[in-house]
């Protein structure tokens, strides 16, 4: 059985249909890239999977790990192992990064009937993952994403993912706004988390990220539908021919 099974998914925002019948099946251990031009519905798909209530699902179903994903609250999806790295990570003034992460990790542990992590164990995990993302420890005591540079925000997302160890990670345009050095660090962090028990969906507009995070499958999304699927070579094809040709085909 697949880890994620999307069938004929339709979704709208403010009455306008964005997703017009998505079918996608993802197994544990796989990395799927979803590419497409602006407005194709890539980010909408990521947001719908993570439970953003701005979008209304009008038809179709999503089965995650044997459960009806669409019936679950955003927090329950996270507790069941779904993690979305935001395209625009949200600033939360007044809540420290450390406190936030601890609250998140313990909420997930509680869901699995595990006790809260003690402070020392938690700090140990956090320090290890920060080193992986080459992040300065001073970021822990700063408010979540507040005053972070674009690169720091994106790294913070992958850092959170490393700490929370999801089963299904969705990276929503994690490469946007990153310079090449930051991109390499982010990709390195993501690759370190590749695991036979973990699947990833990498949403991106550009092929560049896929040089560093090499996907098993590439899907091209256009006007709310997957118009083409293939192996990693499809990304290179796109790079050469552009979306226009693919979309018309």
């Amino acid at each position: 059985m697949s880890l994620l099974e999307i069938k004929n998914l339709h979704a709208s925002v403010a009455g306008r249909e964005i997703l017009k019948g998505i079918d996608l099946s993802i197994d544990a251990g796989e990395v799927h890239a979803i590419m497409g031009p602006n407005g194709s519905g890539k980010s909408t798909l990521a947001q719908v999977l993570s439970g953003r209530d701005l979008y209304q699902v009008t038809a179709g179903e999503v089965v995650y790990d044997g459960k009806d994903l669409l019936a679950m609250s955003p927090e329950d999806r996270a507790r069941e192992g779904i993690f979305m790295a935001f395209q625009y990570p949200v600033e939360i003034p007044g809540v420290s990064n450390l406190y936030f992460l601890k609250a998140a990790l313990n909420a997930i542990r509680k869901h699995h009937d595990l006790p809260d992590l003690d402070a020392m164990d938690f700090l140990g995990i956090v320090k290890e993952k920060m080193a992986l993302m080459e992040m300065d420890q001073s970021l822990l005591n700063r408010a979540v994403n507040t005053g972070f540079s674009g690169g720091e925000k994106k790294r913070n997302e992958i850092f959170q993912m490393a700490v929370l160890e999801p089963k299904l990670a969705i990276l929503d345009e994690t490469d946007s706004g990153l310079d090449i050095d930051a991109l390499k660090i982010v990709a390195h962090g993501v690759n370190a988390l590749r695991h036979p028990s973990r699947a990833m969906i990498v949403v991106t507009h550009y092929q560049r990220l896929l040089n560093y995070i090499v996907p098993d499958y590439v899907h091209v999304l256009a006007e709310g539908r997957i118009v083409k699927s293939g192996g990693k070579e499809l990304a290179l094809e796109l790079e050469e021919s552009g979306y226009a040709e693919m979309v018309e085909a």
Binding site: R52, A78, G94, A103, L105, A143
Partner: protein, 380 residues
């Protein structure tokens, strides 16, 4: 003499009566519920004296007037205006024994001076008139914590605190109000600052059915005055914070940050007056009022009132009214944090900068706890 002042205050109240919403200063706060029960209110038991602290004179006003009139009479009832404020007039006419605190010249008092007023109204409605005179002589430093708490049915706390801070003093003042949900609380804090003083006051308001706080500060040359406030109301609570900062002399600075959290059918008023007199050149005044509105039925009236008569000054003011950030909520939930906890996290985060400015650690901890308790209560 104090007896003359009391008689005058009584007379003045007889002339003024209770304010009505036709008075500009009370436009959004009707004290009719207080006026209705006023005749029936019985005097509450007098408050206990606070613990003695080495190096500070703490005694009842009556005792101080008897033994050291020279330390008291020049200040008592000289600043809080019983001529213009009906509740100050009532307090001045009626306060029972009152409290006198004198911090001697040059004294540095590290231990906070705590004034605790507790009301228990388990029967007929009662009234108390706490009255505090705090005189900090030149070059002294102290921290003062006033707490007002209570339980039971209807009662009125009508308090007046006058603080006279001499030249070069450093005073931290906190007022924590957790009255019973049925209580009326009307309080005036009158602050008279000497030259080059550094004064900070934090007004933290949680309880009461009908609450009015007046904080009035008169600054001297080089004074620095910080007025912070935090109010959290739900149910049918009403809170009115009126502040007034009188920049009477040049080179003084005032910083004011009041934050409010409103839920249920509660209502709040913020009115921040800043008066910059003609001579008060180089004044630096900043006023901010931010409100977080959690329900569609709560109401906030916020109004800056700037009167600037000098030309070389910097005065800024701003007010915001906002709701919980939906993006922030989703971000927290998407990490596994439940809806209620996410909401509380964001609300506490909103109050964070006020909480962090509280230097007395046990008070800061208590405040965080009160915030969470009240937020949980709000949901149930």
């Amino acid at each position: 003499m104090i007896e003359d002042i009391r008689a005058e205050a009584k007379e003045r109240f007889a002339e003024m009566g209770y304010p009505t919403t036709h008075d500009e200063d009370w436009r959004f706060t009707s004290v009719a519920p207080i006026a209705r029960v006023a005749q029936a209110l019985l005097p509450a038991a007098p408050a206990l004296l606070p613990a003695q602290i080495p190096g500070v004179r703490i005694c009842s006003l009556a005792e101080a007037l008897l033994n050291e009139p020279g330390l008291v009479e020049p200040y008592l009832a000289r600043y809080a205006s019983y001529q213009t404020n009906a509740f100050v007039a009532l307090n001045t006419a009626n306060f029972a024994n009152g409290l006198f605190i004198h911090i001697p010249k040059g004294a540095v008092i590290e231990e906070p001076i705590r004034l605790v007023y507790k009301s228990f109204a388990n029967g007929l409605p009662t009234v108390s008139y706490p009255r505090n005179l705090i005189v900090a002589a030149a070059d002294s430093q102290a921290t003062i914590i006033e707490t007002y708490e209570g339980s039971g049915g209807t009662y009125l706390t009508n308090s007046v605190t006058e603080i006279v801070a001499g030249d070069h003093t450093v005073i931290d003042h906190y007022k924590l109000q957790t009255e019973s949900p049925n209580a009326f609380h009307v309080a005036t804090l009158q602050i008279q600052l000497g030259r080059d003083t550094n004064f900070r006051s934090h007004s933290l308001s949680f309880g009461g059915a009908l609450v009015r706080n007046d904080v009035n500060a008169v600054l001297s040359e080089g004074s620095e005055c910080t007025l912070n406030g935090l109010y959290l109301v739900n149910g049918a609570q009403h809170i009115d914070n009126h502040t007034s900062i009188d920049h009477a002399k040049p080179h003084a600075a005032s910083h004011e940050l009041y934050k409010g959290i409103l839920d249920g059918k509660s209502s709040a008023v913020f009115n921040g007056k800043i008066l910059v007199r003609k001579d008060a050149q180089k004044t630096d005044a900043k006023q901010t009022n931010k409100n977080l509105v959690l329900s569609e039925e709560s109401v906030i009236n916020t109004k800056p009132e700037l009167q600037i008569h000098a030309d070389d000054v910097r005065c800024t003011h701003g007010a915001t009214i906002g709701q919980l950030d939906a993006e922030g909520m989703f971000y927290l939930q998407s990490r596994g944090i439940g809806k209620v906890e996410a909401r509380n996290l964001l609300i506490v985060a909103f109050a964070r900068d006020i909480v962090d400015r509280i230097k007395v650690e046990p008070l800061r901890d208590r405040l965080e706890k009160l915030l969470l308790e009240k937020l949980h209560g709000s949901r149930n």
